[in-house]
Symmetry: C2
Subunit: 384 residues, 2 copies
């Protein structure tokens, strides 16, 4: 009983200290327009403390708020009817946010829009100490192609984005390995090439000869069997990947179509999904990347290798022989249940003698800077 | 003096009649979610009269309006704080719109977003009688590739989208003709492949063997010399097209790199720009498409062929020899100054004995259904 109580008190105390510190910390007036604003838009802005300042004309509104990172910050109206307000300092990297105008949650007209949290909404970019690895630079740029296809399995049109490296169009006979890369929950096939900056990360890695040129396929992890009644939709993403997406990619692009030249990775829900797909199809893939997620999510309990994923990890030696790289990454600020479930998964790997690489993203939570860094690390290690 | 007065009265009378008719016309309750809504979003909706119904939760708002086609329609709040309202019947096709919440003009959280009117905003799709030609069908689909490049002329990163036909990846030695296709004012390089549906139009034409497979390049018509002082920015789009974009496309893609296999077309501002580029570079292009625009815009005056575009139309016989297809299109409901300036341009062509094709889009104004239809007509006639 006392344990819980102490934890609660500790939490309250640190929160109080943190708020007190922030209140006394002056807002530095060095705000600059965010790098993901629409062309010519001056707001939102970010300062050197990582605070976000939003601004919108709403002369007849009663209340306007900046809704960012789970906090709604009240904005203040000036004589011209323009509302302006700042957030507390944010972590480096990319965050989704909205404006709230008299109870209506809407995208900020100042930014470009990103699919996350189950909707197209606003985003803000807090400059990161290591942002150079995903910066747009004057290096050869690959293409990101929108690829529409009809899935017989789901009986619907689907879409994936395909990154082809810059040299793809100069070496017309060369064939390339393929990384299948998946988004997280309430995101879609646009995530990795828009807020994930996967194309820029690969362009920069390849230009610096840190990664081998590769094709990257980014599809939508939501795929369901056509519903005949009101029963719960049944996910068929694995079947779509194995029986439709991979054969299509191997037909449309100059791939090296074997397991030695296929990797699969994903973030959060995508890490969970791709781990299952990997373990069920070791004849198809030989590299795995799990960014902020594992298939025992959300449990932090010790894993029973006899039952977990139908015993796929029972024979650690066989797993080591088949998987060339088993790679896991996590941000140091990730909330529960991620550290617990990833930790339990690592314990299982170690118990089974399965080799793996573990990466920690410093000072980032369950957000895109963690995943950009994971991709940057992982892509440099595969197909070598 | 009286002439102006009469025009004014006539306008008022017809507006009154129109409003009176509309007020008595019942709103039919057969609304369906718009085809360009975000996944799972029920609003906005469109009914069989072409009315748009928007709906948004804004419990504390004083006033919420649907801002569509130059009219702000008041919406009405229910007991749950949800505001709902309908527009008058709209023309078939695609329209940009916004919501206005207590004076704040914001995108509707229900739709996907489109770049137009100088911002990313909401769009609505009114089903058209001929919508089959731009429908997503189970035919082979080409790719739309995002292509980032650094322009030395503008000293900035730029982007174009490149459509490659479905067969491009099956016929690895075949080379293709190229259409350079431009957006209108306050739009950008995304316009043609998003609200323009250029890729679906080409997919359908090619699948039906109505058009020859071709590459389509959609770039951004705003390109300026780097500014050294506060003087007016100088457009260098023609130089970027001729010296940077075309050489890049001919390097990255399997093009047939000669004038007989290059077309250039654009809508509105893009029609004006591409006509100038065409006439200055008859050694580069041999097909021209002007959708809702000509380079004498906005004038309806008779054109002096000695001075217009430096006398490029003086020798009609030479123009006929060089240009394989001179194609113009216009919607029957386009507002001033388009019918006047396109009409004056056609008079000049006829006076000079220059052959051209003229197409009218029935019952459409200066909007995307006109331009989808123009592309559908034009693409079927080039490279043959």
């Amino acid at each position: 009983m006392n344990y819980k109580r102490i934890v609660y008190l500790t939490f309250v105390c640190s929160a109080t200290i943190s708020l007190a510190q922030t209140k006394t910390q002056e807002v530095l007036e060095d705000f600059k327009p965010s790098s993901v604003n629409q062309q010519g838009k001056l707001f939102p802005q970010v300062n050197s403390q990582g605070r976000v300042r939003a601004s919108i004309l709403a002369p007849e509104a009663n209340k306007v708020q900046l809704d960012l990172g789970g906090i709604k910050y009240d904005m203040v109206k000036d004589a011209k009817g323009i509302w302006t307000g700042e957030s507390l300092p944010q972590d480096e990297g990319f965050h989704y946010y909205q404006l709230n105008i008299d109870g209506a949650s809407v995208p900020d007209p100042g930014t470009v829009y990103f699919y996350g949290a189950g909707r197209l909404g606003s985003g803000i970019e807090i400059p990161a100490v290591d942002q150079d690895f995903y910066a747009l630079k004057d290096v050869p740029h690959g293409l990101v192609s929108e690829n529409i296809y009809f899935s017989k399995i789901t009986n619907s049109f689907r879409r994936c984005f395909v990154y082809t490296p810059a040299e793809y169009y100069q070496n017309e006979n060369k064939r390339y390995p393929v990384l299948y890369l998946q988004h997280g929950s309430f995101e879609d096939e646009t995530g990795w090439s828009v807020q994930g900056k996967a194309n820029l990360i690969l362009d920069n890695l390849i230009a610096a000869q840190k990664a081998n040129p590769m094709i990257v396929v980014m599809d939508n992890g939501y795929a369901y069997k056509p519903q005949v009644d009101n029963s719960r939709p049944e996910s068929v993403f694995e079947e779509v990947v194995i029986n439709e997406i991979i054969p299509m990619i191997d037909t449309k692009f100059r791939t090296i179509a074997n397991r030695e030249n296929r990797a699969i990775a994903g973030l959060s829900m995508g890490a969970n999904q791709t781990m299952r797909i990997m373990m069920n199809n070791l004849n198809v893939f030989s590299y795995y990347g799990g960014f902020s997620g594992t298939s025992n999510y959300p449990s932090a309990d010790a894993i029973d290798v006899n039952t977990f994923l139908d015993g796929k990890y029972k024979d650690g030696k066989s797993v080591n022989e088949k998987i060339k790289l088993f790679w896991l990454g996590l941000g140091t600020k990730e909330p529960s249940p991620f550290p617990g479930s990833v930790g339990a998964f690592r314990n299982m790997l170690e118990k089974q003698g399965i080799k793996y690489t573990y990466y920690e993203s410093a000072e980032t939570a369950h957000e895109w800077l963690t995943w950009r860094r994971c991709l940057n690390q992982f892509a440099a290690k595969i197909f070598k």
